[in-house]
């Protein structure tokens, strides 16, 4: 274990996987100069043919990743900001997400699209989206959101080794903090597996990306009031580890979902739906979503802070559920405490 920033952990993952497999390629806009630092030094180490600076041409880059993967390579296409996925979206949605299916399973597409998501850096509306709900909805992409450096390393290594298209997203607001990161070159976290970041019996908080830290802070504060919150980080949003979430909810009976994306058809909305469908009998209170709402991310820090959920909003949501429950003995009596499924 050594302490690393998220970008350092990602850089280690890329370097280790490039070392391990000569077919791993890294390409994208400014991967040599490396704006965030994840690709720093890779070009010098692995050569300009495997680590390739590209023009600002997302429509082409996203499609080239599909072509290169179909031809046997394992490209990692760095799209810089998650919002730039929109300009490269055609090949991601129409080719990568469907290619294996529509050719009857003829081809594997071991490729990774990378991007930075979320607000907190005053990058304004076109550089702050948490784009994962749109990606989850495609059905043919694995969608990974890393919330801390250790997870980022293990998840990215898994994404590169996976034979399917994976979108690997990192939360912008977390990139300067240092966390312990395993040094093991085979530290690979399986995709599709959630992590219980904190155990608790009274309440489940599912938190995504930058919200994981806020949820842990909230859980700490709740504990001081005698409420033990369990914090779950799905880590992979598609395929989602539904069982891990439902197991927790069936024990606690209360669910808060903290998600830095929009409210309508967001990740929180989907998680809320599965809790309603599959853990209804266990719920002692309505599911509560804590999101940005349906609004673009503003530039000015006070506005941005007001919209991005944080510890305070999560604590308030949690207390609301506990109090709603305490105020409704009939509802408490009705709740069976067991999952329907």
């Amino acid at each position: 274990m050594s302490r690393r920033r998220m970008v350092q952990a990602i850089q280690e993952a890329l370097a280790e996987e490039m070392e391990r497999d000569a077919r791993v390629l890294v390409f994208g806009e400014d991967v040599e100069a490396s704006m965030f630092g994840e690709t720093a030094g890779l070009s010098e180490r692995f050569g300009a043919s495997r680590v390739r600076n590209t023009p600002i041409s997302e429509a082409l880059l996203s499609g080239m990743a599909v072509g290169a993967a179909a031809a046997g390579y394992r490209p990692v296409c760095h799209l810089m900001y998650g919002n730039f996925i929109y300009t490269g979206f055609d090949a991601i949605a129409n080719q990568a997400a469907k290619f294996r299916y529509m050719t009857g399973g003829q081809v594997k597409l071991p490729l990774v699209y990378m991007g930075v998501i979320g607000g907190g850096k005053a990058t304004a509306a076109q550089h702050s989206d948490c784009i994962y709900p749109a990606l989850m909805n495609l059905g043919g992409l694995k969608v990974v959101v890393a919330s801390d450096p250790g997870d980022a390393k293990g998840l990215l290594k898994a994404a590169i080794r996976d034979d399917n298209p994976v979108v690997f997203l990192q939360a912008a607001g977390r990139s300067r903090e240092q966390y312990p990161v395993p040094d093991d070159e085979d530290y690979v976290l399986p995709l599709g597996q959630a992590a219980v970041k904190r155990e608790g019996r009274d309440l489940t908080i599912v938190a995504i990306g930058s919200m994981v830290k806020q949820a842990l802070l909230a859980a700490h504060e709740l504990a001081s009031q005698g409420i033990e919150a369990e914090v779950i980080d799905p880590r992979t949003l598609f395929p989602l580890d539904e069982d891990a979430i439902l197991r927790s909810v069936s024990r606690t009976g209360r669910l808060v979902i903290a998600d830095e994306s929009h409210n309508t058809c967001g990740a929180a909305s989907y998680i809320s739906a599965i809790a309603g469908e599959r853990a209804f009998a266990a719920l002692k209170a309505p599911v509560c979503r804590v999101t940005v709402g349906d609004v673009a991310m503003p530039f000015s820090p006070p506005l941005e802070d007001a919209l991005r959920p944080g510890k305070a909003e999560i604590v308030r949501a949690a207390l609301g559920l506990v109090e709603a429950n305490a105020a409704s003995p009939r509802r408490q009596a009705m709740a069976g405490g067991e999952m329907l499924s």
């Binding site: 043919s49 041409s57 499609g63 072509g67 046997g72 090949a91 294996r100 009857g104 081809v107």
Partner: protein
């Protein structure tokens, strides 16, 4: 950087290759034509599950280009992709079964007409997105360059696709990286239901100029002219010369899709125009040249046509007799 090889073949004066090659290429064009005429009729008879976009009139391009490609070379095609599939060596019966939506289809009924692909033969596939194949071919060309074994990639696209921004992106990057990539524009006069002149400015081949990409404009209805241009382009790409853009002038004898007049609110061309362009039908022209140069008699070519027709009939019968995909497998193949 425009290639300067003589264009004297345009008039198809003298045959440039021997009788076996002449007949093999003629047969391939005929196979594509007969498969598509059958599919057109099947569409009219409501035997096909979905739309088909036919390649009738453009066969010389797929056949003339793919004749120079090895099985390991890559092609990315278009929604009008049956011809490229067959010219690159794709299996006729597997293609037909796919268009009929059967389990025995090349994509097990998951793709249909717009997605026929065979990776074992370098066919990255037809593509339902106009210009969708350009980036895929560029990616395959990058892979080929990294491998260094001499493979190349060919992107077929239409004049309609030339108006997608990704063509500019592809010309720029492939020139910069010297990718072994041939960009084959089949200018068939129509972008879906719009005449090219109403939606496309300038010459498409000349869009290569500012990127320093070699380019050439060739009669796409003349098999020999196509074949020669492709020979040169393949040598250029394989030899490390980087990308090249070939614009083949041709004419789409069928509609954008079959039975389009059943739903279009107005016509976009006259029947007289289509009839007039039939005189330049590449298969008719090639047949006349074969007879004129005494490579074959009309009777020989009629026999060949009969053989091809039999193959197509067998493929259709096999497809119709084949099982539909098992619905319990409807969710298979999303992930490896």
């Amino acid at each position: 950087m425009q290639l300067t090889r003589s264009q004297s073949f345009v008039a198809c004066q003298k045959p440039i290759f021997g009788i076996d090659k002449q007949l093999a290429l003629y047969r391939k064009m005929l196979l594509i034509r007969k498969v598509e005429e059958m599919l057109g009729n099947a569409s009219l008879a409501a035997e096909l599950p979905g739309p088909v976009h036919l390649y009738v009139g453009q066969e010389a391009i797929a056949v003339g280009v793919c004749d120079h490609l090895a099985e390991t070379d890559w092609i990315a095609s278009t929604h009008r992709g049956h011809g490229h599939f067959l010219a690159k060596g794709g299996d006729t019966a597997a293609l037909v079964a796919e268009v009929f939506g059967r389990e025995t289809g090349i994509c097990r009924g998951r793709g249909g007409s717009m997605h026929v692909a065979d990776f074992s033969r370098g066919i990255i596939g037809a593509n339902g997105i106009v210009a969708g194949g350009l980036a895929l071919a560029a990616g395959a060309a990058w892979a080929a360059q990294l491998e260094g074994t001499g493979r190349i990639a060919v992107a077929f696209f239409g004049d309609g696709a030339a108006n997608q921004g990704v063509l500019m992106e592809t010309l720029n990057l492939s020139s910069l990286w010297k990718l072994p990539l041939i960009l084959v524009c089949e200018n068939n006069g129509f972008a879906e239901f719009s005449p090219s002149a109403t939606v496309t400015s300038g010459r498409i081949a000349e869009r290569a100029v500012p990127f320093g990409v070699a380019h050439r404009t060739v009669d796409g209805n003349n098999l020999e002219a196509v074949w020669l241009a492709a020979e040169e382009a393949v040598a250029h790409a394989r030899g490390g010369g980087g990308p090249i853009l070939l614009e083949f002038e041709t004419y789409r004898l069928r509609g954008h899709m079959e039975q389009e007049m059943a739903f279009l609110s107005k016509t976009y061309r006259t029947n007289a125009e289509v009839e007039e362009r039939r005189s330049a039908d590449p298969i008719r022209r090639f047949r006349e040249a074969l007879i004129a140069h005494r490579f074959a008699t009309a009777a020989d070519l009629d026999d060949l046509e009969g053989e091809v027709q039999d193959e197509v009939v067998r493929a259709k019968q096999a497809a119709k007799a084949a099982p539909w995909p098992d619905v319990t497998g409807a969710k298979d193949f999303m992930f490896a």
